[in-house]
């Protein structure tokens, strides 16, 4: 499994656009078509929002080649107080609707990692 790149970033909304652009670039490298590339950007953004609401100060986003593009997003740093919102449920449902094989992992009862795939 080839790693395209991994980005570590503080969880702030200001950096979402930069990460969306990077995601678009990796989708291109991975041969993901433009429509699904847009969907992948939405999924990356939603994952970061979920981790933000789970209380993480930063995150690591890894992009891997595996039958298309596999994206792994994990919370980093000392977790603060979780601030879940009603929108979290919608974010999870959106991930399920847009990506293939969405998986989530919890640690200490809180969301810690997400992964999803976009096929070629």
């Amino acid at each position: 499994m080839k790693e395209y790149m991994t980005i570590a970033l503080p969880l702030s909304r200001e950096l979402m656009t930069a990460l969306r652009l990077a995601t678009g670039g990796v989708c291109s490298l991975a041969g993901v078509d433009l429509e699904r590339s847009e969907d992948c950007k939405v999924c990356v953004t939603e994952s970061l929002l979920l981790l933000m609401h789970a209380g993480y100060p930063s995150a690591r986003v890894g992009f891997w080649e595996e039958d298309g593009l596999l994206v792994r997003v994990s919370g980093e740093g000392e977790r603060g107080a979780a601030a879940p919102t009603e929108e979290d449920e919608i974010s999870f449902a959106l991930l399920g609707a847009l990506a293939e094989q969405t998986e989530t992992e919890k640690e200490g009862g809180a969301l810690a990692r997400l992964s999803f795939r976009f096929g070629k």
């Binding site: 652009l21 291109s28 041969g31 699904r36 953004t45 449920e89 919608i90 999870f92 449902a93």
Partner: protein, 239 residues
């Protein structure tokens, strides 16, 4: 009354007031999802309308006895409708503009590529066809989609028809302009007015409906019909 009870009661009585209550309660989901998909070349207002209609249909179809929360059920439903809407719109003709040549090129080449291969192209493949870098292609997509009839024809609020009638040499694809011009002539005055309000002045469907003294639903149906008519006409001209 909680969600499950409300849906059960609506299912039992078919009371429209209850349905409206449910729709109002979950309208925020339509708004939220419309915002998440805005920026792909379609205005938020239009996406919100598509999402709201999907919500109404979802309220009708939802079965609370299956144990699913409504928000979990409705999110993929609305997302599917929005994506269908994007696909419908992607079949529209495009208006070449110098300032957006690359974005227009992306749409044109995407369609050509899809026709040739039966699949959507990657940024790399588009870059090769357009002589641009992959980064430029990706950036053009990120910047808000490609130029199409749903964009204002001119920053001064000129209508698409007006602009297409001019002899402005900034349009490099003369044949396209003429084809659109000719297709526009075949429209009725009402249909041309709709195109002018919606794509020239970039009014929302609601605003357009007010100006034309009809309902928003009527505008929605008419717009779909007119765009389809234009598309068919242009397809015939360019065949």
């Amino acid at each position: 009354m909680d969600e499950r009870e409300l849906f059960a009661k609506y299912r039992e009585t078919g009371d429209v007031a209850l349905r409206n209550l449910l729709v109002e309660r979950y309208l925020y989901i339509a708004s939220l999802l419309a915002k998440k998909f805005a920026g792909r070349g379609v205005e938020y207002d239009d996406l919100y309308q598509v999402a709201s209609l999907a919500l109404v249909k979802g309220v009708e179809r939802f079965d609370e006895t299956k144990g699913l929360k409504f928000s979990t059920f409705i999110t993929p439903t609305i997302t599917g409708e929005i994506k269908n809407y994007f696909r419908d719109r992607s079949r529209l003709v495009h208006l070449p503009r110098k300032v957006a040549e690359l974005r227009a090129g992306v749409r044109r080449e995407s369609e050509a590529f899809a026709a040739e291969t039966g699949r959507s192209p990657t940024a790399k493949e588009l870059a090769a066809r357009l002589g641009a870098s992959e980064e430029e292609i990706v950036h053009a997509a990120e910047a808000g989609g490609v130029v199409s009839l749903d964009r204002p024809a001119d920053e001064d609020g000129m209508s698409l028809y007006d602009v297409l009638s001019s002899e402005d040499e900034s349009f490099e694809h003369f044949e396209n302009r003429e084809a659109v011009h000719s297709a526009m002539k075949a429209l009725s005055p009402t249909e041309r007015a709709l195109i002018s309000f919606r794509f020239g002045q970039e009014l929302s469907q609601t605003e357009t409906a007010k100006r034309m003294g009809v309902s928003q639903m009527y505008i929605s149906r008419l717009e779909r019909k007119v765009l389809e008519k234009l598309r068919e006409s242009l397809k015939g001209d360019m065949a």
